[in-house]
Structures are given as structure tokens and as C-alpha cells.
């Protein structure tokens, strides 16, 4: 969906950085801290994400509201923690679904080749050519109205997972095809390895790095996609926050006030996505190393 970026270029550039264990440790620490704070949101922000302090809408940071309040007087710190919980827990779930689907369809296409591969790639092209944003808006419009905000956000991420596998499938297909033409697979087939045995012992272990990379790529992509949906007023419904819906405060260039605390959700999103990217690059480097060893 949002994968127009050339990861290989970034990989080379970030390669040096991600080899630095201190930076990797920093990325892990940030993610652990963010996820930990999100999980402990009930204790860290007892005000809750939905209570409207109507006497102090748009308030500046204070001891009562560490990041101030939003336009309706809701505690921005609480909304950030609960929003991070929603995005950071559900984005990996969606990423796992899309990676599994990509592994299945891409793997099947690469394994069988011929007309099955051609059909699978046509389906992938079809998926890539669909305007996803409009499709998601339409799908959201036909969902039942009386579902709780929690269910609504889970459905949104599940949809993202089920719809976002096409690019990964193409990568997995290419990887599988390359493996199928390798000498060790030819040797394995010549010695009578059955299909399942071949997949289990040779294909999956060699595709593990690719699949992990696709998973780590998908996590930030889904966080940003949900942010885009949130900015359209879709996806996560009131009063539940997500990192995406929190960014809506920054939507208006005219009325945006130069108050640094309003930008904290954006900073957290950039930080989290960057940390995922650092770990992803490390994973890609490791997987390349592993592939070279196995080949």
C-alpha cells in the first residue's frame, strides 16, 4: 500500500548505523519503553483517554495533564499512551497476517511456477492496482454500526492485514523461485524429497529472513496506513485514540498553534517507525548473511 520506498537504498545507507550495537540497543530500548508504557497506560494515566475536562479544553501542560489537553479537554498524555497501545499491538498482528498470506500465495506461486505463478502474479497485480484507501472507506461503510470502538479498531487492522499482502507475496515468490532453481534444491528433489519435506527442510528455513523482513516492513507501514485512515476520520472511532487519530490535531496548517507538546504524538510515531526500521535493516543484513551461508 504505502511501499513506494526503495528499501535497498536505505538499507545500504543505514547499514553502517544498524551494525552499531549501541544504536540497535537504543532502538530496542525505545520500543520496549514505548510498548511498556502503552501496556501500563491504566496506571500511568489514571485520567483515562475519554474523560472530557470541559473546564480546560486545549490546556497547556501542567502537573495534572503532562501534555496538556486536546480540544475537548481530554488528557493528551493518556490518549498518547492508549493510542500507542492500540497501534503498537495491532500493527504487528496485521503484519503477521499479511506476512502469512504473502508466504502462502507467494510461496505457492514460486514453488509451482508455470501457469500457477502467472495467475498468482496477475492476482497480485490486481491487488496492487486497486485504490485501497477507497476500498477501506467502503468496507468501513458496510460494517455494522453498533460495534464498539475496540472492535472497530481490531477490524480495521485485520482488514489492513488481509489486504496488505500483495507486495510481500511478490518478494516471497521471487525468493522461492530463486531457491527452486538452486543446486541444493535440485539435489534434494533428485534424492526423492517430497513436496512438504522440501518446503519444511529447505524452502522455509531459507525464506525465514525474507519473511521476517517483510513482517518488520509491514509493522510501520500499517501504523502509518492507520494514521492515514485516522486522518480521514475512519478506522478508529471515538473516543478510542490511536497514533493516527492523534495526528489529526496537526492536520490544520492554518490553525496549528506553535505549541511543542502538540507534536509529541508525531515524535513518538517517527521514533517508533525509525526504531522498527533500524531493527528491520539489521534483520535484512542478518538474513542476507544467513542466505549466503546456506547457499
Amino acid at each position: 500500500m504505502l511501499r513506494g520506498m526503495d528499501l535497498r537504498g536505505g538499507w545500504r545507507e543505514l547499514g553502517g548505523m544498524t551494525r552499531n550495537p549501541k544504536i540497535r540497543l537504543f532502538a530496542v530500548a525505545v520500543l520496549v519503553l514505548t510498548i511498556g508504557a502503552a501496556l501500563c497506560a491504566n496506571f500511568l494515566a489514571p485520567a483515562g483517554y475519554e474523560h472530557q475536562f470541559r473546564e480546560s479544553p486545549g490546556a497547556s501542560p501542567s502537573s495534572q495533564h503532562l501534555l496538556g489537553t486536546d480540544d475537548l479537554g481530554r488528557d493528551r498524555f493518556a490518549r498518547l499512551l492508549f493510542g500507542a497501545r492500540v497501534s503498537l499491538l495491532l500493527a504487528p498482528l496485521a503484519a503477521a497476517i499479511s506476512t502469512l498470506l504473502a508466504a502462502f500465495f507467494g510461496g505457492m506461486a514460486g514453488y509451482f511456477g508455470g501457469w500457477i505463478e502467472r495467475v498468482a502474479l496477475v492476482v497480485v497485480d490486481l491487488f496492487l492496482s486497486i485504490p485501497w484507501l477507497f476500498l477501506l472507506i467502503s468496507v468501513r461503510a458496510v460494517l455494522p454500526l453498533n460495534i464498539s470502538p475496540q472492535s472497530s479498531v481490531i477490524v480495521t487492522f485485520l482488514l489492513l492485514g488481509f489486504l496488505g499482502w500483495a507486495v510481500s507475496a511478490r518478494v516471497v515468490c521471487a525468493g522461492t523461485r530463486e531457491l527452486m532453481s538452486s543446486e541444493f534444491v535440485t539435489l534434494a528433489r533428485a534424492t526423492g524429497f517430497s513436496g512438504l519435506k522440501l518446503v519444511r527442510l529447505h524452502l522455509l528455513p531459507n525464506l525465514r529472513g525474507t519473511l521476517m523482513a517483510q513482517f518488520w516492513i509491514s509493522v510501520p507501514v500499517f501504523i502509518i496506513t492507520e494514521a492515514n485512515l485516522g486522518a480521514l476520520g475512519l478506522g478508529v472511532s471515538e473516543p478510542l485514540p490511536s497514533l493516527g487519530s492523534l495526528l489529526r490535531e496537526l492536520q490544520s496548517v492554518v490553525t496549528l498553534r506553535p505549541e511543542p507538546w502538540r507534536f509529541i504524538p508525531l515524535v513518538v510515531l517517527v521514533l517508533v517507525v525509525s526504531c522498527f526500521e533500524i531493527l528491520l535493516n539489521h534483520s535484512l543484513i542478518s538474513s542476507r548473511g544467513t542466505s549466503e551461508v546456506r547457499a
Binding site: 475519554e50 474523560h51 472530557q52 470541559r54 479544553p57 480540544d71 475537548l72 479537554g73 472507506i137 468501513r140 461503510a141 454500526l145 453498533n146 460495534i147 464498539s148 470502538p149 480521514l232 476520520g233 475512519l234 472511532s237 471515538e238 473516543p239 489529526r248 490544520s252 496548517v253 492554518v254 490553525t255
Partner: protein
Amino acid sequence: MRRSLSFCVALILLSAAMLAQTGGEMRFCIPSEPNTFNPLLPQEVSSATIIYLTGGVLLRVNRLTQKADPELATAWKVLDGGKKIHFQLRDGLRFSDGTPFSAEDVAYTMQKLMDPGLHSPTGDAFRSGEGRVVTNVLSPLSVDIVFPAPVANLANLFDAVPMLSSRSPQKDIAALGPFYMAEHKAGSYILLKRNPYYWKKDANGKQLPYLDAIRLEIELNKEIEALRFSRGDVQMITALQPDIFEKLASQNAKQVQDAGVSTYTEFLWFNQTLTSPIPPYKRAWFTSTAFRRAVSEAINRADMARIVFHGHAQPAIGAVSPANKFWSNAKLKPHPYDPDSALRRLRQEGFQFDRGALRDKSGNEVEFSIITVANNHARENMAAMVQQDLKRIGIKVNVVTLDFHSVIERISETFNYEACLLGLLYSDLDPNGVMNVWLSSEPDHQWNPKQKSPATSWEAEIDRLMRAQASSGDERLRKQYWDRVQEIAWEQEPFIYLVDKNALVAISPKVKNAHPSPLHPQTFWNAEYLALGNDELANRKGR
């Protein structure tokens, strides 16, 4: 009161004459490409704006006094209880291409307007009964128009009927208003130039309009419009959002103005349609007057006006905004915010409030969804406030934001929704303009449209009163009928009116003679008197 209003208007016109500076091109934005340039078919804001600025009308409802002022007609008289109207026309008028204007043109315009093939909403307002509308040209300067049945508010309806030329070789663009359409660049702008034959002069006998031209820039994005205003590219903005209003006010308080409460109302209603796919027990809640009144009492409208609209809105009272001076029922008071009273009402109706949750007689937990249009920040915030307010009386509300077309499809075709929060601009002050909302048989009777016979006794009573006021030529009697309709609507609350928005406008200090009105068009209702200050003129000439 009337004397003081007349004095104010006279003062405004006099000050306009004193401040008059001829020339210059003023710019402001319209939100889209006009759907039509046909003066008899205004469909949306953009085409209505062009028609207002170019069209010459027989009389004009003054946006400050809300009374009809003579324009192309010097006098008129409503006869036969509203079945006939006589107009005496101004002498020596010419269209923008020089073609003379006469009673023949009035007859031609009425013939075009009442053509059933045109489907003109303006024409529909004149259709009072079966039969033809006959225009009798008595002389080049006097004309009678006869209708098959009495038409309520007959004279004021001509405020929306721009006169067409029957003889001009340039029928499409010949205009009697202060400007005519000179240039149109699709998707970019529309240039209106001064009508050289415009009849009106100021108090000093100076030819109007003062401006040479008005350029209407097509700009959908309200934020870009505000940025362009800040840069000085455009000189006026109509219908500002409260947050943008506050931002512009912080830059220069003199460039924005709160013109007071408008006729733009935000409201909520429950789906009472029998054919809707909602469970019968929920329909029973929604059709219960006590339930609707309780929900209404539990909503804190004052908080909504203060927080969502930054104080630029008033808690709504009922079906007619106080901005509509003559037709609003002054006896009605705002519904009080009283959650305790709301709970008492619900208990009397058999609801139980237990451990923070409200249950009906059958033990069903009270939960419903409110749909509203996505990406309308104010409306989403209003829905969130309703959600929290109703939580206090144990009602669980799910807010669902949908794209505009999905909302319209649900409320007008599939009826697959439970409650809806929307806003409406009442541009027609007369109760006839909302017949389509209040008659139970009409498709815009949103809570239960297209009824074969009224579902409730109070809807039957509203039907009777609305038909009675529509067929009466006695304004006092019509006012009594319409007041009673407002009282029934206040008691039954099929629409739970939330807030009446204020008319917020931005007008550059360089624009002279602007006197914003809460009624549409707020900023340019007196376009012929608008002028640009010297520095602005110098800038324009320099470009």
C-alpha cells in the same frame, strides 16, 4: 423597532456614499465550479453566488431588516389573498448589453420559471395549486401575475427570481444586477465585471457599483482560502470555521467579525422509520417522546457551543433560529441541561438505571450509534460530547463517521442507521421553505419520511398547520400556525436541535462599506456598495 432598523439602513447607505471609492477588483472564493449558470436554477453555493451578484430582481429582502426593498419594481401589491401580485416597474432600465427592460421581460421570465421541464426549485415555491400561472402585461411598466391558488409569502419569493431578457441577443449573459459575467476559466476563476447600465446610484448620485470587478476564485480547501486571505490574495471569506476565525482574529481582530447567530443549525435525530432494519425494541425507544426528551435534557448544549464552537454558537431552541426575527417563536426557551430530570423521565417510562447502565423494560441495555460525516472536525467533536453526556445517564453511544455519500444513502434510501447528527442551513426564512421537512409525506421528513398517513397524532397536527399556513394570505395567521408547529416540535423533539452557529466572516480592513449579516450571503449582500480602500487599489494597479 422598525423605525430604528430603517434608520440604521439609511445610516449604512449614507456612510457607504461618504466612503465611496470607485474602481478596483475584489476577490473572494467560491467552493466549487458552478453547476449551472442558468439564473433560474441555483443549485449550490457557487451558482447561487453568481446569480446573486448578476441577477436583477423585482424586490430584494434586505439582509439586515429582513424586509423587502424595491429594486426593479418601485411598488407592488399582493391581491386576492395571495393569488395575484401587481408590480409597477422602474422606468428606463437596461440589461448589461444595453437591451431595455420592460414588463414583457417579467412575463418571459415567469414563463421560463414555471416551465415544468426546467425543474426549477425557485419555480416550485410558486406552485400553489393545479393550473397555469398567467402574467398579464398591462403596460410596458406594469404587470400582474396571477396564480391558480394563494401563494404564501408571495412578494418575498421574488427575491430569488432574477429577470431574464426576452429580446437580448445575448440572453445567457445579459444581466440587470450590479455585475455581469465577463470571463470564466474552468476550475480557476470567474470574473464578474461592473454592469455599465446598472440602475442604482448612491446617496450622492454616484453610479453603482463602486467596484470595477469581482473575481470569484474557485477554492474548495478552507485552509488554503484562509492562507490566501492572510496573504491578501482574497479580501473576504464567508462562513468561517470557528478555529480559523480565532486564528485570523489573533493576527488582526479587525479583519474578522462575528455577525451573530445565523440560520445554520446543528441537530440530531433518531430513525423512526418503520421499514428500517433496526430491532423493534430500539424503534420503541426512538418513537418514545419521553426517551427523546430525556436524551435532549442530558445533552449539555452550552458546553458544546463553548468548547466546539469557541463560543461562536448558541444553544439551539427549536426549529427556527432566533436569527429569523419574524418567524421564530420567541415564547420558546432552550431545553435545560438536566441529567437528573432526564433520568426521572426515563424511569417513568420503565427504564432502569443500574450500575452505570440504562436498561429498558425488557432488560435490553440502551445502546445506539450516531452516524455523521467524516472529516468534519466540529461535528465529530459534537458527537463525542453527546457520547460523554449520555454516558452519565447510562446510555452507550457508538460514534460512526462515514463518507458523505454513505451517510446520505443511509438516511434517505436504506434507512440503515439509528441516529444521525447533521447540520442544515435554512436559507429561506419563510415556513414555506421547510414544507418538505415538516409534512409527513415528504422525503425530507428525516425521522420518518414518505408516510402514507401521519404515524402520530402530533405529526397529523403539524401537517394540518403547515398546509393551513401555506394556503393563507394573512401573515398574522400564518405566524400563529407556524408558532404552534414550533411548539409541537419543541415538545416532541423529532429533531433534537443542538446549536445555532454564528455567522463568522473575514473581511479585509481594505474593503469599505461591508456590513456582514447573519443571513446568506453574509458578506456581499450589498455588493454594489462594496469598495476597496486606496492602498488596495494601488496594489491592484501595481500588479
